[in-house]
Amino acid sequence: GAGVSQTPSNKVTEKGKYVELRCDPISGHTALYWYRQSLGQGPEFLIYFQGTGAADDSGLPNDRFFAVRPEGSVSTLKIQRTERGDSAVYLCASSLTHRGDTQYFGPGTRLTVL
């Protein structure tokens, strides 16, 4: 079956612009996660969805970051007024449920803010 997919694979934008990153989880997975990975670091948690609602958004760095999952499947991570420090690989993962299940990761979106 299909794994987690993310689009675009690469995104280059200018400082101050708005970007949207999309994640399509594994079919049937109710839990969806966003992480951010900087060079030489492990992934850092941003936000977690159980169904349509954001159950935990404690990892979002500030109010420029927002994510939605309106129908409980596809999710979009939105970043307003991008800054150079937002440059990173944004990873999406999904799991069957949230109780300790394995998270399966997508290939990521590499965001570069010039």
């Binding site: 492990g42 948690f45 949230h98 300790g100 998270q103």
Partner: protein, 116 residues
């Protein structure tokens, strides 16, 4: 607080050597899960293994084996007879489910280079 430490930043071995990647974790939860992921140069995180805190049995899968010791809060990963295709960054992760979520806490990774 939840934390994962991978003290080895980079390791190089010659093909066919055995190599052990260390992982030490911190948590106050009694129920938790430990994972290893492989991140090859292509960038996608590949799941390798999941263990829960109540199962300390070591596990072997082909050339891979894992040693889970709660007494030392360690979950080490050994590759036997390493191959060039094993070259990647390996991440250890801790999952401590709560009522609100299941975020993973990742270590900083160990970059393994297998020299032919």
């Amino acid at each position: 607080a939840q934390k994962v430490t991978q003290a080895q930043t980079e390791i190089s071995v010659v093909e066919k050597e055995d190599v052990t990647l260390d992982c030490v974790y911190e948590t106050r939860d009694t129920t938790y899960y430990l994972f290893w992921y492989k991140q090859p140069p292509s960038g996608e995180l590949v799941f390798l293994i999941r263990r829960n805190s109540f199962d300390e049995q070591n596990e072997i899968s082909g050339r891979y084996s894992w040693n889970f010791q709660k007494s030392t809060s360690s979950f080490n990963f050994t590759i036997t007879a390493s191959q060039v295709v094993d070259s990647a960054v390996y991440f250890c992760a801790l999952g401590a489910p709560s009522n609100t979520g299941n975020q993973f806490y990742f270590g900083t990774g160990t970059s393994l280079t297998v020299i032919p």
